[in-house]
Symmetry: C2
Subunit: 473 residues, 2 copies
Amino acid sequence: MAPSALLTDLYELTMLAGYFEQGMHQLPATFDLFFRELPFDGGYAVMAGLDPALEFLESLRFREDDLDYIESIGLFRGPFIAYLSSIRFKGTVTAVPEGTAVFPYEPILTVQGALAETQLVETALLNIVNFQTLIATKASRVVRAAAPAKVVEFGTRRAQGPDGAISATRAAAVGGVLTTSNLAAGKAFGLPVAGTQAHSWVMSFRTELEAFRAYATSFPDDCVLLVDTYDTLRSGIPNAITVAKELEAGGHKLSGVRLDSGDLAYLSRESRRLLDEAGLTHVKILASNELDEHVIQSIRSEGGLVDLYGVGTRLVTGAGQGGGALGGIYKLVEIDGKPKVKVSGDPSKGTIPGKKQLWRVIRPDGGFEMDVIGLEGETIGPGAQVFDPSHPLRHAPIPGDTRLEDLRTVVMDRGSRVLSPAALPALAKRTATELRSLPEGSLRLMNPHRYRVSLSPKLHELRLRLIEEARAG
Amino acid sequence: MAPSALLTDLYELTMLAGYFEQGMHQLPATFDLFFRELPFDGGYAVMAGLDPALEFLESLRFREDDLDYIESIGLFRGPFIAYLSSIRFKGTVTAVPEGTAVFPYEPILTVQGALAETQLVETALLNIVNFQTLIATKASRVVRAAAPAKVVEFGTRRAQGPDGAISATRAAAVGGVLTTSNLAAGKAFGLPVAGTQAHSWVMSFRTELEAFRAYATSFPDDCVLLVDTYDTLRSGIPNAITVAKELEAGGHKLSGVRLDSGDLAYLSRESRRLLDEAGLTHVKILASNELDEHVIQSIRSEGGLVDLYGVGTRLVTGAGQGGGALGGIYKLVEIDGKPKVKVSGDPSKGTIPGKKQLWRVIRPDGGFEMDVIGLEGETIGPGAQVFDPSHPLRHAPIPGDTRLEDLRTVVMDRGSRVLSPAALPALAKRTATELRSLPEGSLRLMNPHRYRVSLSPKLHELRLRLIEEARAG
């Protein structure tokens, strides 16, 4: 279910009231959604949240009780409230597909339409795209650290609220984590679900062996046993082996064991050895306990033998992102046909003006060379000089043997959705393909290669001119 | 609206199926919800989320389409699914009120009832209480750093999903941030809402002065002007002063100015000076931009003159909590009348067994001396020896001039809610009173005093005995 139209900041409504009372609410306006810094000190981000964002835009309307509430605030006049009751989103949205590798300053989503409508949707679009892009990016990092081992998401209990869990599961799937423990998300998105038992299960029986036997009776073909309640190597694994043998006698196979505490590198190696010695080479080892891409990498570098990583808290909250969120912003870049720039005292807070295009420069081998942001209607190709957005004097040509691909498409045309919802496995596949095409150093977890994003000649020129005008004026 | 019963991990259902098929699902069981570490390296946490948790329990049921979905997973047999369709929560919940200062190992919420029901609700209870307690704690830190200046929450655009924003706003209110920009939360919880305009408003007009005038026309009595779009001190404040004078001529007063970038300590001092020199001492200064308790403290220590802090991202995501979440857990402590303990290889992951009481030891001046966790039915008083939970040999008497207060009450009795929902301002007030009663060093933002939590003699003895038995057995 799409969020309510009230998922917005009061200031969107005070601005709308002002525009309405100034007769400006129908002026044509363009807003870009972009971020200025990559999350996790990484080398890329993975676009996500587009489909839920479009769902929000499509269903946007203030219901009677919303309007009553807005009236009760005591700030707004009758004609404006009547206008609000008629608002629908009739704008046009251009965006990169979910699962695309994206970079700072790129207009990953652009909204064009009447000033009032395009302004109103700022808060919800940022909420949805900021969070899902953060989590899809995190998930892609975890998946790469674990590969070829698989990853299961089970962060629901530590997610940021009920929907924080469901949104996170969706975004994690875009990033490549396609299995979850969360039934609400499994149902909503058709994702496979996974899960075994808690320590409370084991503690509810007189002995660990009885607990394992009982579980195997109910799930003889899907039996994963939690082996660390008492003593993993001296009790958990031996009892699991006993139950595996009993299952085999009945024509079934133990699926796996789960380690949830202690030194996972050591315990997984030793568990593997004990299982293999018992002829149970098919039994998988699942590891969990405050994992993330860095912990998984260190388990692997120490020879851990894990077939499946269960990743919870740090995945669904995007832990490791210092500020707590992707800092995506939504900025006015053109109004009434005039491009706009924000010239802040803080230069890192400036904007790039105008209606834009976004190209990816692709090498003959399919690898991504760089991205270029240009002006609407502009045509450029290999050989063109392009400019560093953070330094007006730094420029270089687009290499001669490359081709340019438009990264964005119109996904909503004057309020009507053009893009139909994509299946999550397809988006996960796109993410994987994109990441394989990046310069290798871009994928490094720490101190990655900085992928190049440039401005086209005309956009560079427009930006400099508007900054000059703002300074003069 | 309470979350769906499907807001649960698959393993809760596989365990339930196992208990059902073993005929154990009706065994009486007790689970404690607690955490092991204080968030933000702080000296306390603020309990929150109880009311939404009870709402979830009250409305818990699997709908037809939920049951169809569960069946479609292919793991569960017909009789179990029929049983699930009849499940309602009929357990008893004992908890500390929201707004209470709470500490590691304390059973802040205890659920007693049939094993199946008490196990099933684990995921959702943790989701709700973990997140809200984290954010209420963060909010209380921000409020204290800002006091006597007030705080407004406006994190919706960076919150973790749509409901992440709404849940966070509620929890922030428990912690003391009672004003929000989020209309959905304002409507849901009856909180006052606040907001002014974005940079896009200022950029939509030919000049900053025109933008300010237009806003003042629509909101002559609620006019806060964003002064940093071009140049705060040379353009924003002078233009705001012009508009303030024009408002005065019409019998109105400018409410405030908002600084959203740059050196907020310096800019607020200079803005104050310019406003005061213009006779506008009543105009308030609002500051925002990636604030949290630490940044606010440094602005104040540098003589910043801010009347109102707008805090967003870092408040609603609980930024600064390393792991990304409060690590609350839900552990079986008694089943079928038998107390249970988890003895982990990792000693920090052990549990405290049995049905419990939780007392606060209060000094004659009303200050909090320590908390004591005891066994159900146990009576202790001043003079009793109490034990350090992390060190069996460390103990000390409860001081003689104190009194013990039961911190918890029954909030739900065999499925029926006893506690009616509290108004958020009352909970915020409780938080403030609690924090005032803690030892002063407990409130320090960094390296705080460690408030003492002890075990009663009988609980200490039970725990040692069960650990011994587990080791022997």
